[in-house]
């Protein structure tokens, strides 16, 4: 149905827009705001870990209303309940409301149709619905921070919401609809709907709307990555939706899907429920999504880095085919490794061996991806512009994160490391210095195309170098603490386990170990506070460059080869993307061809004599 090119009002052009570029930017800004909020929560947590007896500082509490402080802080200190609330929401916000929408929602939406030469996504109105459902779902999950919505705060049973704790949390509330856990679950259902619509959209777009000449193996790697991400989201989210629906039923109708028989709580005594439920069922359903979800986090970042490295080394991507096959295999394998999050649930050796094998196998395609990117640097003429700095930092950081995952893959080692700070160190290394750096690279890379202005290099360096150092100081000691046995989710950093009388000279082995490493908490928390300050140059840059940045003179400022650079600049709300239907003549990374004068040959440039055969 062709819509007439009528003039659009401001609201339908920029707010309820069906243009994938505007929606992509909406996703990006919303996601970054959520990331900032999740960061804020983490600062509160890190204060509690490093200084558990001291009240929160004024520079943190100025933004909190007095009533909130009265309810959730004790003498200004973070209580265990509040820490759990922050912890659960930090995880939820970062994973579901921050990184995935930024990676898949923002970059997937903005770049994918451009890179395949399409006029828009296959279903623009569905795309708009996706974004607004995401915003609504995300806000509903966070309702609990406001007393107007919830009597009991937000969800506070970990971002993983394991029953029976999550089932019975806030059971005393008179109105179960006004509890944070229930609202979290309802928000999750809305969020999953948004995600499903988005993934259907992306797959249909990639399969059906590719430009002429754009065969499968001429697709930029980003498009392959987004295709795999979309399939993972499509097929892995429904079991989590099932788990969410079942938990909502448990909370609102009193069913016992996850309540075992004879459950006894200190608040009500013997639970008035039928029993015979299985907490293990929830864990299976949750992690069936939970594991593929981490590849949903990862692949958009790898996609950004893979686009950036050829551009700034002026050299084709090494191992493009291997990377494509690798990412497809990664997508398949990601569905059969989930129980490595559950090694300590009493699994027998048969199942745990199965999952251990598949988990170790899945490291192979990941390594193929990283190795190909590393080798792509070899012999290149590297231009260390801002995007390239972030992309180069991604490689070793993600490498550390990935390698620290290997002991966790083996159930024998995981027996000791499960639920310790080692796990936290591992996944934060992968996500924070890894994935987020990759996504920052993407922001710096495509910002000139979106806004027509360059981001400030000075502010970029002020953002990059201190962040790199602070983030390593923040997360590396976690690996050490974890191996020493520090548990996850300790709200006082291990303070309770110290032998307060004897300090380090105690016979209690665990107390002695805690004493040995507890001071690392202070170092890490200071690193976190500094890391927070380091993001200020970025925030200024993102908004300031739009007004004050240097104007981009060419449509293709980085001299790249993929189709999105064959459009006008700035490219924000233009209907239809391309003035004439694009045609593709070659692969995506034709840099430094010996038979060509320029050091790059874009995909869309018609050949002088004969078209190349890839």
């Amino acid at each position: 149905m062709a819509d007439g090119h009528h003039k659009q009002g401001f609201v339908s052009k920029y707010i309820f827009s069906t243009d994938h570029k505007v929606i992509g930017v909406q996703y990006g800004i919303t996601a970054m705001l959520f990331l900032l909020f999740g960061f804020f929560l983490m600062i509160g947590m890190r204060w509690s870990i490093a200084f558990p007896h001291e009240p929160l500082p004024a520079w943190f509490t100025w933004i909190l209303p007095d009533g909130w402080e009265a309810r959730w802080l004790q003498d200004g200190k973070v209580t265990g309940e509040t820490y759990n609330m922050f912890g659960a929401m930090h995880g939820t916000i970062m994973v579901f409301l921050g990184v995935v929408p930024l990676g898949f929602g923002a970059f997937g939406n903005y770049v994918t149709p451009l890179q395949i030469g399409a006029a828009d996504m296959a279903f623009p109105k569905l795309n708009m619905a996706s974004y607004w459902l995401y915003l609504v779902g995300g806000l509903v999950m966070c309702f609990g921070f406001f007393e107007w919505f919830s009597d009991t705060g937000t969800a506070k049973s970990g971002w993983t919401n394991y029953p029976p704790l999550a089932n019975i949390a806030d059971m005393q509330a008179p109105d179960q609809w006004r509890t944070g856990q229930t609202q979290w679950l309802l928000g999750l259902v809305v969020l999953i709907t948004s995600s499903l619509l988005g993934s259907v959209n992306v797959i249909t777009t990639i399969v059906n709307l590719r430009a002429k000449g754009l065969t499968w193996f001429r697709l930029p790697f980003l498009v392959w990555a987004m295709l795999v991400v979309a399939f993972i989201l499509l097929l892995a989210f429904p079991p989590l939706e099932v788990a969410g629906i079942m938990q909502v039923m448990d909370r609102l109708t009193g069913s016992s899907f996850f309540t075992p028989t004879g459950l006894y709580t200190s608040q009500v005594g013997l639970m008035d429920s039928a029993g015979s439920g299985s907490p293990l069922l929830f864990q299976h359903l949750f992690w069936f999504l939970g594991h593929p979800e981490v590849y949903v986090l990862l692949l958009p970042a790898i996609a950004c880095v893979t686009e950036i490295i050829p551009t700034f080394t002026r050299k084709p991507l090494w191992g493009y085919r291997s990377m494509v096959y690798g990412v497809i295999v990664l997508g398949f394998l990601s569905f059969i490794v989930w129980a490595h999050h559950m090694y300590l649930t009493g699994m027998g050796p048969v199942i745990s061996t199965f999952f251990q094998t598949t988990t170790v196998l899945i490291s192979i395609p990941s390594v193929i991806l990283i190795t190909s990117l590393l080798i792509s640097l070899w012999g290149g003429s590297i231009h260390f512009r801002m995007p390239m700095l972030w992309a180069c930092a991604f490689l070793p950081m993600f490498g550390i994160g990935g390698l620290t995952g290997l002991p966790l893959a083996f159930n024998l080692a995981d027996l000791h490391l499960h639920d310790t700070y080692y796990v936290i160190g591992h996944f934060h290394y992968v996500v924070a210095p890894g994935i987020l750096f990759g996504l920052f690279a993407g922001i710096y890379y495509w910002y000139p195309k979106i806004t027509g202005k360059y981001m400030s290099d000075l502010l970029g360096h002020l953002h990059f170098w201190p962040s790199l150092i602070a983030i390593n100081v923040l997360f590396f000691p976690m690996l050490i603490q974890g191996m020493a046995g520090f548990h996850r989710r300790w709200y006082n950093g291990g303070d309770a386990y110290l032998d307060k009388v004897a300090g380090g000279e105690t016979e209690n082995v665990f107390a002695a170990t805690v004493y040995q490493f507890i001071d690392l908490n202070i170092l890490m928390s200071w690193a976190a506070f500094i890391l927070a300050l380091c993001q200020i140059p970025f925030i200024i840059n993102v908004f300031g460059a739009w007004f004050f940045g240097k104007k981009v003179e060419s449509d293709n400022p980085w001299n790249a080869t993929t189709l999105e650079w064959n459009t006008e600049t700035p490219l924000f709300a233009k209907h239809g993307n391309f003035d004439e239907e694009p045609k593709v003549y070659r692969g995506p990374y034709e840099y430094s061809r010996p038979d060509h004068d320029k050091d790059y040959l874009p995909q869309w440039e018609a050949p002088q004599s004969k078209p190349s055969n890839d």
């Binding site: 299976h284 569905f335 050796p349 199942i351």
Partner: protein
């Protein structure tokens, strides 16, 4: 995709045949499950709810599902890519998810070779 009027009219006859087939199969499913055990000539195996009833019931259901998918949902003249999407997800959905439950049921703590020992629940 059936296009011309003749093809569509022919397809309609098939639809009607499938309709009666489905209705008949539904009735058969109920009868198979419902035959009381004290007519033992009808009950091939165990007394009461038995695995045979379940297998027959699910087999009939699968066949009905196949008919609906193949004929009503036009899978008989759809391009291969659709098959891959649907079958892939069915394989993953039923085999993968049912696989958890099977594995969980079947999982002994003691590992003595590949003899999986006694099931956890006794009949």
């Amino acid at each position: 995709m059936a296009d011309g009027p003749e093809a569509i009219k022919a397809a309609r006859n098939t639809y009607l045949k499938v309709l009666f087939g489905l209705l008949g199969l539904s009735l058969v499913t109920v009868l198979v499950a419902w035959i009381p055990f004290w007519h033992p000539s009808w009950d091939p195996g165990k007394v009461g709810f038995d695995q045979v009833d379940m297998i027959i019931g699910l087999a009939i259901a699968t066949f009905k599902a196949f008919l609906v998918g193949y004929i009503f949902m036009h899978l008989n003249h759809e391009k291969k890519s659709i098959y891959w999407i649907f079958f892939g997800s069915m394989v993953m959905g039923f085999v993968g998810l049912m696989g958890i439950t099977a594995l969980a049921f079947w999982d002994p703590i003691v590992f003595d070779g590949f003899n999986l020992g006694e099931p956890i629940l006794k009949k």
